[in-house]
């Protein structure tokens, strides 16, 4: 489950980002962007620990696309503000981590079931 743990850590980073990058009080959309995306990432990552919603982490791809798009679109030419670059970087990281399955060190569940049914001797093993 390490990919989900990384996502929760990135969500925590986003949640404290407004204070680290010292958002201006008038830029309420920046504050909300950080907090709402942080909340969504954390919720989707935690839902992935539940069997019925184990693929919820894939929804983070939409959040990642939003972060990259919002950071890119609000930067006008050249480098944006640190907070805007932060959205792009975190978005890229989430984009990569979110595609990794939760039980990624083991074979996929369907292959484990297949091996069990066909007696290949590789039940749950990492080969």
């Amino acid at each position: 489950m390490w990919p989900r743990t990384v996502e929760v850590m990135l969500a925590c980073w986003l949640a404290i980002s407004p204070f680290i990058f010292n958002h201006d009080d008038s830029k309420w959309s920046w504050w909300w962007n950080d907090w709402i995306t942080a909340l969504l990432i954390a919720v989707f990552a935690l839902l992935s620990f539940v069997r019925q919603t184990r693929r919820a982490h894939l929804l983070e791809l939409l959040v990642a696309a939003w972060l990259i798009g919002f950071g890119w679109a609000t930067s006008s030419g050249g480098l944006g503000a640190p907070a805007q670059q932060n959205w792009i970087c975190v978005g890229l990281l989430i984009l990569m981590v979110a595609v990794i399955p939760s039980d990624c060190v083991k074979p996929p569940e369907k292959w484990r079931e297949w091996n069990e049914r066909h007696g290949t001797g590789r039940v749950g093993r990492p080969v």
């Binding site: 390490w2 990919p3 950071g71 890119w72 930067s75 030419g77 050249g78 480098l79 944006g80 640190p82 805007q84 670059q85 792009i88 970087c89 890229l92 990281l93 990569m96 981590v97 595609v99 990794i100 399955p101 990624c104 060190v105 083991k106 074979p107 996929p108 369907k110 292959w111 297949w114 066909h118 590789r122 749950g124 093993r125 990492p126 080969v127």
Partner: protein
Amino acid sequence: MSTINEVFNPAYESKPAVHPFDYNPSAWSQRIPICVIAMVGFLVAIVLGLYQWKLIDHIWEPFFSGTDGMNGSEAVVMSETSKQMEGWFHIPDGVLGAVAYLGDALFGLAGSTRRWQYRPWLVIIFGFDVIPLGIVGVILVFMQGFVVGYWCTLCLASAAISLLLVYMAYDEVWSCLIYLNRVRQRAGGLNRTFWQAFFGVPNDIAHQVGEEMVRGDAGNPARLAKSPAN
């Protein structure tokens, strides 16, 4: 759940060999070094990125001199070419490189020691992150040297690391492509059976091709050794 011993025991995980190699390219002993080298690449790239972010004052540069009080590395990463790329990506190119190296390490860590068969999509993403992006990175580094007119030791180190990663990662991608191609041939094209195999859903053809590639009776008895030790 797999035990640590099952996951990291070299005697267990290096067998069986996977066609066309005489070792398992998805073994942890093959992938962990890739992740370590990718993290070295990350450190090199993030130093360049930190300078571009103005969070550090200087870049270590033992060989190349620059201009306007900057050494060669600083002249390269603050050049017009670099600024142009900042205009495209809206983050410094050094930081983008660092994110790409981090991706190499993340995708290197994901998947079982039979992921060439069980999660081909993951190996293809890993291969895309390492091989084409690595080669593009190397081309950009050399273009900076020739276009800007200055050289940068850490950029050259980054290019060398990218090429090393390409060499170390190609075998797993190659085995995976051979597996997918054989599944495609037997399935009769890019149909449901093929895409099931691609996305890690088992079927008879995917199972048969996988077993043949492991047993080594897939039509080419000549197996390739990456090094005499293997």
